[in-house]
């Protein structure tokens, strides 16, 4: 218990319950946050975090329970009411208008000025002051569209501050940031703490909890299972609370299944920036090779060109020059169809936007790339063959689902990712590129996905793993190459890699040895 006795907490939620048809999302959950505290709010996907945060932000009413904020009993019926009381939530998907300026976004709906006209001078002065406070070096007149993700997040924070908020909820604020940007965000959060503002911090990167948070609350299956001071626990303790069991997480791999036979080779793959897309990342003479049964890690900070490399190899983006060879034979890749025909698969970084048909059934999602395996007479889909296919991968990947006709959008993140992996496995690829394979999925599912990738390597598939989490890259990879600004900057064997060594290669960018 964190209760110190003297001052009442800033936020006290008691006995919060919420049910949806067929599921009890929250079961009498207690949640407390003290003033000026950075509070980690943890739990696997499906634990009920989002539901509790929605209740806190006024987006949904609780079925039962009480909320006290700043000593007063409150009951928010809309996000506006919660904001007026001083609780602002920053969601993963920002709520900014891209074609409006920074200042307009910060004060949207609350513009200074008279009844009719906006005072742009006040608007911009106040915004400039907020930007200085959090270190956003942008003109209030800059268009949000032109800002990086990290800067847009700062605009969201500036907006929260402009509402005089006392409690800022950040839902996975670091998931799309590079390491340097995360540092910067943490500096901002510490400053907010100094000003007496509390932060609820939701993250899947547990190391961040130990870096910045004062205390934590863990939910599991809609129940409150633990809370305390971060200083009084460790990583294993929190993981145990989250999963309810011991997980041998990220133990380095002993065996290698590298056969030495080349599966995929990239030679001098380059891509120039198009005038139509000035934000695109260039690739400069990217060359590497991955063997059958080998797991190759591709490490780099956000913007290093990892995803762009993957998309170029897969034909999702056109590259300007360079050669790709599969199994020693040069191939022409002008579209994903070409790549698939050559035995290359890609699990893209954004599961929901780029991989899944959220409103369609599991069967469609799973079999869409491997229709050859389930068709009869080349035209029709054989329900029997498809059922068998889905069942085969449900068993092999331990996908928790009710039936093949279940809508994929109703699965948890981990199970959704397994469906995407199954889609490619069903194609029996020679090379599988996985971009952020465990982003946004819970610890248990992460472990399963890791085992699955190793199993795939054992069966002779060449695997390229892209991940922002260095421990993940290190645990999985036989060999790791690092990238920076569209160039390969180094190569290191998995067993020799340390986070420090990798970080040096990723940030210092020594040129690739020829």
């Amino acid at each position: 218990m964190v209760e110190t006795g003297q001052t009442p907490p800033l936020l006290r939620m008691r006995g919060i319950s919420k049910s949806f048809p067929g599921v009890r999302a929250l079961d009498s959950v207690d949640f407390e946050v003290s003033a000026a505290e950075i509070h980690a709010f943890l739990g696997e996907n499906g634990a009920g975090k989002s539901t509790l945060l929605k209740i806190l932000s006024g987006a949904q009413p609780p079925d039962e329970g009480s909320i006290e904020f700043d000593g007063r009993s409150v009951r928010f019926v809309s996000p506006q009411e919660a904001q007026a009381a001083g609780i602002v939530t920053i969601y993963q998907e920002f709520t900014l208008a891209p074609d409006m300026t920074v200042a307009e976004n910060v004060f949207i709906g609350r513009e200074p000025g008279g009844r009719v006209f906006i005072s742009y001078r006040d608007l911009e002065e106040q915004t400039a002051a907020l930007c200085r406070r959090i270190g956003l070096e942008r003109s209030p007149r800059a268009l949000v569209r032109d800002l990086s993700v990290a800067e847009q997040q700062m605009v969201e924070i500036a907006r929260a501050l402009s509402m005089k908020s006392r409690l800022i909820v950040m839902d996975e604020p670091t998931s799309a940031l590079s390491r340097a940007e995360v540092e910067n965000l943490f500096a901002i959060i510490r400053n907010l703490k100094r000003d007496g503002i509390a932060t609820i911090f939701v993250t899947h990167r547990l190391e961040e909890v130990f870096e910045i948070c004062d205390s934590y609350t863990v939910l599991r299956d809609g129940r409150h299972v633990g809370r305390g001071k971060v200083a009084e626990t460790d990583m294993d303790g929190i993981i145990r609370l989250m999963v309810g069991r011991d997980v041998g997480l990220l133990a380095a791999r002993e065996e290698s299944f590298n056969t030495g036979e080349p599966a995929l080779e990239a030679r001098n793959v380059s891509r120039r920036r198009k005038s139509t897309d000035s934000s695109a990342i260039e690739l400069h003479d990217v060359s590497f090779r991955v063997n059958r049964g080998e797991i190759l890690g591709l490490a780099g900070l956000v913007g290093a060109g990892r995803t762009e490399t993957a998309r170029a190899l897969f034909g999702a983006d056109i590259f300007d020059s360079g050669v790709i060879a599969v199994g020693g034979r040069e191939i022409r890749v002008r579209s994903p169809r070409d790549a698939i025909a050559s035995g290359i698969g890609l699990v893209p970084e954004d599961r929901k936007q780029q991989a899944l048909f959220l409103a369609l059934a599991i069967r469609t999602n799973l079999s869409i790339a491997a229709q050859d395996r389930i068709s009869s007479m080349g035209v029709f889909i054989s329900a029997a063959k498809e059922d068998a296919l889905v069942e085969e991968y449900r068993r092999r990947l331990n996908i928790r689902m009710a039936s093949p006709d279940q809508i994929v959008g109703n699965l948890s993140g981990g199970n959704q990712q397994k469906v995407v992996l199954a889609r490619w496995l069903a194609l029996r690829p020679q090379v599988l590129i996985v971009d952020e394979p465990t982003r946004g999925i819970d610890v248990g599912a992460k472990f399963e996905v890791h085992n699955l990738l190793v199993e795939m390597a054992r069966s002779g598939i060449a695997i390229i793993v892209i991940s922002s989490e260095l421990p993940e890259v290190m645990a999985l990879s036989d060999r790791i190459i690092t990238m920076r600004e569209g160039r390969i900057t180094g190569e290191i064997m998995g067993r020799d890699a340390t986070q420090e060594k990798l970080m040096r290669l990723m940030t210092l960018g020594q040129p690739q040895a020829a």
């Binding site: 949806f20 048809p21 067929g22 599921v23 999302a25 929250l26 739990g43 696997e44 996907n45 499906g46 634990a47 009920g48 975090k49 989002s50 539901t51 993963q92 839902d171 996975e172 939701v202 899947h204 809609g222 897969f314 999702a316 579209s335 994903p336 169809r337 698939i340 890609l346 893209p348 936007q353 780029q354 991989a355 899944l356 048909f357 959220l358 409103a359 369609l360 469609t364 079999s367 869409i368 790339a369 229709q371 068709s375 080349g378 035209v379 029709f380 889909i381 329900a383 689902m401 009710a402 279940q406 809508i407 959008g409 109703n410 699965l411 948890s412 993140g413 889609r423 946004g440 819970d442």
Partner: protein, 338 residues
């Protein structure tokens, strides 16, 4: 991110989603019940076949439109394309433009077979042109087919030079006026094609790809689906149905004219949407479209029997299409929350 509620639909029976799914059918049956009570003539087999025959043309178009809307597309040009294709079919049947008004056996024409083929060829070609414009020139379907609406109507007016082409051989008009065991031929054509379209969408690889492209085009592309081909294909399919519908309509009216099919796009889109196909793509069915088509037909027929002014009927159709989409949006947001 973490959704405790996300598993709700795995377990338990959701009365609302059941109701939403069968709402069009339930509404159709209710409507029939109301009309039957208010106007006993409504349930006579003559009247019911009459309703079916009236909706069979828009029903054919609605089958094609279902493919288009499943990919989150739209086709506004169908009424104009139908008029143009109908005139071409009529001209072929009459062996040219000179004999446009002659009725009877002395006409030297090319027979209904060639006429039907010509109508379908015009439809396919119109659909192909629009499909290519949408996928290659990257112009939104709304704009391309709005243009097509004007282009094909202009072509029809030019072709007809102001007048209708009437008077076909009996074997031609049989396709619009004939009966097989007292079932009107257009109704049979409509139902047979509905079954075929249902099979294509449900049980073929192509059908899956249509849903996939509508559900998430980028994901479909990255899964190896040739998205542009699928999109172009649905406009070609739409064109086929416009051509076929043109032939059947001209057979039924024993005439083709340049103003035929005016306003059909609204009725057809309404039929598809009322049948539960989402304008945002990726969800819907031919079964729903058939129900939606019948619903509109029954509604119009009932209003006629009750002597409601035909302008009022237009107003009612307009309101219903908005309500149907509102219902769809509501059901979706409800599904998301639940």
């Amino acid at each position: 991110m973490s959704d405790g509620k996300a598993r709700s639909t795995d377990t338990g029976f959701d009365a609302f989603s059941f109701l939403a799914r069968f709402a069009p059918l339930i509404f159709l049956l209710l409507l029939m019940l109301v009309f039957a009570i208010m106007e006993p003539r409504f349930l006579s087999s003559i009247n019911l076949f009459n309703v079916m025959r009236q909706v069979s043309i828009t029903g054919l178009l609605a089958i094609g439109m279902t493919f288009v809307i499943l990919t989150a597309g739209i086709d506004l040009s169908i009424g104009s394309l139908l008029a143009f294709a109908g005139l071409v079919a009529a001209a072929v049947a009459k062996g040219g433009m000179q004999d446009r008004f002659t009725v009877g056996d002395e006409t030297i024409g090319y027979g209904w077979q060639l006429a039907a083929l010509a109508a379908i060829a015009v439809g396919l070609l119109g659909g192909l042109l629009q499909g290519v414009a949408i996928t290659r020139l990257k112009v939104p379907a709304f704009v391309v087919t709005l243009g097509g609406m004007s282009v094909f109507r202009g072509a029809a007016l030019l072709f007809a030079a102001g007048g209708p082409i009437s008077g076909f051989q009996p074997d031609y008009t049989w396709w619009g006026q004939g009966r097989i065991f007292s079932v009107p031929v257009p109704v049979i054509i409509f139902l047979v094609l509905a079954v075929i379209a249902h099979v294509v969408l449900r049980y073929t690889r192509y059908g899956r790809q249509v849903y996939a492209v509508g559900g998430n085009p980028e994901a479909a592309r990255l899964a190896g689906v040739n998205v542009n081909s699928v999109i172009a294909s649905v406009y070609i399919i739409m064109g086929f149905f416009a051509g076929l519908g043109a032939f059947v309509l001209s057979a039924r009216l024993n005439s083709a004219e340049a103003v035929a099919g005016t306003g059909y796009e609204l009725t057809v889109i309404a039929s598809v949407v009322i049948g539960g196909t989402s304008l945002f793509g990726g969800s819907g069915s031919i079964f729903g479209t058939v129900i939606g088509t019948l619903l509109i037909g029954v509604l119009l027929n009932g209003l006629v029997l009750m002597n409601v002014n035909s302008y009022v009927q237009q107003i009612i159709i307009g309101v219903i299409i908005v309500l149907a989409v509102a219902f769809d949006t509501f059901a979706k947001s409800r599904r998301k929350r639940a």
